[in-house]
Amino acid sequence: MSATPSNMQVLSPLREAWRVFSRNKAAMLGLLLLVCVTLVMLLGPGLYGVKPFEIMGAPFTEPFTDRKLWLGTDYLGRDILAGMLVGGRATVMVGLAAAVITVSIGVTVGSLAGYFGGWIDSMLSRLTELFQVLPALLFAMVLVTLFEPSLGVVIVAIGMVSWTGTARLARAEFMRLRGLEYVSAARAMGASHLRLMLREILPNALPPLIVSATLIIGVAILFEAGLSFLGLSDPNVMSWGLMIGANRRNILECWWAVSFPGGAIFLTVLSVSLVGDGLNDALNPKLHLR
């Protein structure tokens, strides 16, 4: 519970947050997992050096039977391990980029609506509601089909359908903070709208936004995996979802070709969400319960 005043140290907010975070075993486990996944993705392909699209052996080679093909081959004879090592890059890159777009649109719309209120708020809130009505996965599927299945289109499609939650969160935060005294004081000193929004309100609205951003990264990774499972991502870029989608029709003949990439997605999203939960506790001192 709360420490007695005598042994309470004055720490900077960042160090205080790290103190809480590092005490959280689940969050630290998530961070460790995330670092491992990142290292494997960055260094793995260089160290292993097999091209993921090349046919390396007999199709349907079982894992752990061939010394050269540890994780076996898929229905075409492509090396699963090579795909696993390279495939994470596209999946995570798309997830990150889509999360950046999601948060950018969401925070822009939400902060304008929350800060200005009035007709700007009601216009932007209606826009948000319109995008909430669009069924996310179907809409993204339509976008990717009508344009082309390239990584760029996939990123924009995911960003377009996922920003509404962030917008609502940012709107609520800006609405709450704009009425506080310190903001009125800054306004009385002649601060411009831009300065009030970016320098005064945004820093205080950041903690919940950071937490939701980590969750969005996880959702965006899952979204990308889902689209490429359906065959709606760039067919020339190896990704975990693509591996699963390509081997979808041969699940019973080669379970390893779908199980390993799926497990990799699971572990990556799990680590991101564990870190997100840890950040939530660390950045919200008021939430020290449960």
Partner: protein, 325 residues
């Protein structure tokens, strides 16, 4: 009177949303590379200028864009979603054929998940340090991080290869076509088990966590202390006093998810070849059948709007304080 006015206002807003969704659809068709007529001609195996002109006339593509837009809105409002290129029959009929299996799948999973998840959440909230509470935490983490199609595939491997007791594809056994009555019902239910289980796992993770958080909040409020002080049994306090208020967020999410049921089921339907709207959308993509694809999109947007309306109304039923407003 107030209620009627409120409902009318919501209906007007819903109609506005619908027009906006249709406008987005219309813009998408015309913003996509390649003009619709040449896409149709391509599907028909190509054609010369005369064929193109006749296609343009047949589909009204020779009209100016604003006229096309008004025609499109008018037709959609009357339930005419166009003609499927591949099936060569009205899209609305195709959708009606496929909506049943999707609703069966999603409703089964949602109902099981809501009831089981709420009970689990209630139980966990009563004892925050118990095994049940830890189980909810772990379950919701795993349920959130597992790609839903991967869960389905793992179940297929488990019940299709390791221990083959469940059908893993389709909705009916080929050997049982033409069979009616109870055997048919049993056959469908047998095929329903795995896809419904896959969806239930995802939903259960969300509902148990939501119900626990919501119950914890309600159990800490003053009126619960009052109820306990009156000497009511814990059973009555939990289920009659607390749960009713704690259900509000559950209803919100359930309404949202029911509206998004087609989107939510696409991946599961694909894994299990379930003949629903999700697989129809995927077939439409593979066949470049744009009217069908956009028809499914329009139809599911309508479903979301309708579900939102119903959710709003059900608040009034759960929370009598809202009835006067």
């Amino acid at each position: 009177m107030h209620l009627l006015l409120a409902i009318l206002r919501r209906l007007a807003w819903a109609a506005g949303l619908l027009v906006a969704v249709l406008a987005i659809n219309f813009m998408l068709i015309h913003a996509a590379p390649g003009d619709p007529a040449s896409v149709i001609a391509g599907e028909m195996g190509g054609g010369d200028e005369a064929v193109m002109a006749s296609i343009k006339k047949a589909y009204g593509l020779d009209q100016p864009l604003p006229v096309q837009f008004v025609t499109y809105i008018g037709k959609s409002m009357r339930g005419d979603l166009g003609q499927s290129y591949t099936y060569n029959r009205p899209v609305s009929g195709l959708i009606l054929d496929r909506i049943g299996p999707t609703i069966l799948l999603v409703l089964t999973a949602l109902l099981i998940a809501i009831v089981a998840g709420t009970l689990l959440g209630v139980f966990a909230s009563r004892r925050p340090d118990s095994f049940a509470s830890a189980a909810v935490t772990v379950l919701s983490l795993i349920g959130y991080a597992m790609p839903v199609f991967w869960t389905g595939i793992l179940l297929v491997i488990l019940f299709g290869k390791v221990w083959p007791i469940m059908p893993i594809a389709g909705m009916r056994d080929v050997r049982q076509f033409g069979v009616g009555g109870w055997p048919a019902v049993v056959d469908v239910l047998h095929h329903l088990v795995l896809p419904a289980l896959t969806l239930t796992i995802v939903y259960l993770a969300q509902y148990s966590r939501l119900a626990r958080a919501s119950m914890l909040e309600v159990l800490g409020s003053d009126y619960i202390r009052t109820a306990r002080a009156k000497g009511l049994s814990e059973w009555v306090v939990t289920f009659k006093h607390a749960l009713r208020n704690a259900l509000m967020p559950v209803v919100t999410i359930a309404g949202l998810q029911f509206g998004h049921l087609i989107s939510g089921a696409v991946l599961v339907e694909t894994v299990f070849s379930w003949p629903g709207l999700g697989t129809l959308a995927l077939e439409a993509i593979l066949g470049r059948d744009y009217p069908t694809l956009l028809g499914v999109l329009t139809f599911s947007s309508i479903l979301v709007i309708a579900a939102n309306l119903l959710t709003d109304l059900s608040y009034r039923w759960i929370d009598p304080r809202l009835r006067g407003k």
